[in-house]
Structure formats: C-alpha cells, structure tokens
C-alpha cells in the first residue's frame, strides 16, 4: 500500500481516512452531547463525511453516480432538519428544554 505516491498527488485513501475521521467525530458527538440541536449538527457532520466519501469514489471511478448520491443525501438532510427542528420546537414548547434527557418518556 502506497500512501505517498508522489510529491504532488494525494491518494484516494487519504480522502477516505479523512471521511472516516470526520464521521467518527460526528458519531462520538452524537453519543456525548445531550443538547438535541448539537446532536442534529453531529448528524449533519456524519452526512457530510459520507458525502466526501461518495465524491471521492465518483472521482476515483470516473462515475458521476457518486455525485448524484450526494444530491439525494442533501435532500434527505434538508427534510430531516426541517422535521427534526420542528420536533425540537414542539418539545421545547412543552418542556422548556431541549436536551435528550427531557425526552425519555414516550408520552407528551
């Protein structure tokens, strides 16, 4: 395995490892934080890391389907944020707080 191919190039693996690191930071944040909005941001971070991997594969295979997948990820992320933030607003109205500990009962 040749990570440093020459002085002016970067291997696809560098991008994959960067994507893995960013995904891990997002996943760890999702596990560690209790604030629901920050947890959402960590999910966005994970989606971005996966997008980076998609685009790297699109370039490596010269196949634009990887870039098309990013658009679908983006649309799903937009839908998720719209619904998720609406849920946070609804929870905040009832509980005056938006940490994950406030939502430990499955009733209003």
């Amino acid at each position: 395995m040749n990570l440093a191919i020459s002085a002016t190039t970067i291997g696809a693996q560098h991008y994959f490892i960067l994507g893995a690191i960013l995904f891990t930071i997002g996943a760890t944040g999702l596990l560690l934080r209790r604030n629901a909005i920050v947890m959402f941001m960590c999910v966005e971070l994970m989606l971005n890391a996966v997008n980076l991997t998609f685009v790297t594969f699109a370039k490596a295979l010269n196949d634009s389907a990887g870039q098309a997948a990013v658009f679908f990820t983006l649309i799903v992320a937009a839908a998720e944020v719209a619904v998720g933030l609406a849920i946070i607003v609804a929870i905040f109205r009832r509980r005056q707080g938006a940490t994950a500990d406030d939502i430990d009962l499955m009733k209003g």
Partner: protein, 208 residues
C-alpha cells in the same frame, strides 16, 4: 482479477492535489468538527459546523466536483445552518450545557470508547483488504473503465464535469429524483403540523 482490481483501486488512484493543501485543509476540517462536538454553546457549534462544511466544499473542488461544492455551500453551509441558528435564537437555548452536573457518569467514557471503536473499524476498512464491486452503477465492468490512472491527468473543462452529473441525475436516477420531491412535500407538511401552535391541548386539560 481481484489482485488487479485491488491494485487499480488502492494504489493507482491518486489525485493531483497539493499535499500541503490537503493536510492543511484536513487539519482545519478536523478542528472544526471537533469544535462542533466540544463547544459548550450551541451557537459556537453551528459556526464550527459552517467552517467544516465550507472546508468540505473545498475538498469537493479538489475532487473536480464544482457543482456539488457550490450546492454544499448554498444548501448546507447557508440554508441548513441558518435554520439551526434560527431555531437556537428562537428558542433561546444558547445557554451553556450543564456538563458539570452530569448525572450519567458512564456516558462520556462509553461514548468515547464507542467512537474510538468506530474510528478503528473504519480505518481498518479503508486500509484493509477491500475492493470495489465488480460493476459501477451504470453497469460497466470496473476493469473496463479506462481511467483509473488516467483520471488524474485528464484536464476536463467545467462543462465536462457537470454534464455527466446532470445526465446521471435526470436519466438514471430520474425516478429517485421524483421520489425526493414527494419526500420534501412530506417533510414540509410534517414540519408545519409539528411546529403549529395548537390550541387543543389547553382545552383537553380543562375538560379533563
């Protein structure tokens, strides 16, 4: 055959990116991502998120995906983060998280351990004995792609980068693209229904 694919996918694929640029941007992206996680104030988290997303857009540019990079800046770094900030300001929950009065002591070590496990698994996958599938999405056999080491030397114009993307998106994924329209409509309706200020709960409490 497998050895050939492995050689093609693991060693030959290299992009003409300045390593200094790559490592500098990667450091900024990782710092921004860490900032999202460790900031006590949600507003700071959102600003670190903008930083990370813009750096990722620059990475998309280095991967000759200008369209994706611009959409990343417009949709992610602008629209989504503005929505986050809007909700933070609307609800006034930009106060600091009470990490000191944490009654669940096991959460942080357990989360950190699971994070390290995830990182180890992902990096083992990346540098391990992986290979790409036998076919790409367009049905071509991987070995038939003439590019893998030619990609880097290809100097394609702007239109040559965007036109294949449009063709893929609007022919091969046309059905999925229309389904996402339905998804967005459902999301908008759901957001309106959830965020609507209902007067009914007050009345039921009175009647109960």
């Amino acid at each position: 055959m497998n050895a050939l694919l492995l050689a093609a996918t693991k060693d030959v694929v290299a992009f003409h990116v300045n390593p200094v640029l790559f490592y500098a941007l990667a450091a900024i992206a990782i710092a921004g991502a860490t900032g999202v996680v460790i900031s006590r104030n949600p507003v700071h988290s959102a600003l670190f998120l903008v930083m990370t997303m813009i750096i990722i857009a620059v990475f998309f540019l280095t991967l000759s995906a200008p369209m994706v990079a611009i959409v990343q800046v417009i949709v992610y770094a602008s629209a989504i983060v503005v929505l986050f900030l809007f909700v933070i300001m609307l609800l006034g929950i930009d106060r600091h998280e009470m990490l000191a009065t944490d009654d669940r002591k096991y959460q942080r070590p357990a989360g950190a351990a699971l994070g390290l496990l995830t990182l180890g698994g992902l990096i083992a996958t990346v540098i391990g004995n992986w290979q790409l599938g036998p076919q790409t999405s367009s049905g071509r056999a991987l070995s038939a792609i003439p590019t893998l080491d030619g990609v880097a030397s290809t100097t394609a114009g702007e239109t040559d980068q965007i036109r294949p993307l449009a063709r893929t998106l609007f022919t091969q994924f046309a059905w999925q693209f229309q389904v996402t329209a339905v998804l967005l409509v459902i999301a908008v309706v759901g957001a309106v229904v959830l965020a609507r200020r209902s007067t009914r709960p007050a009345r039921t409490e009175v009647s109960a």
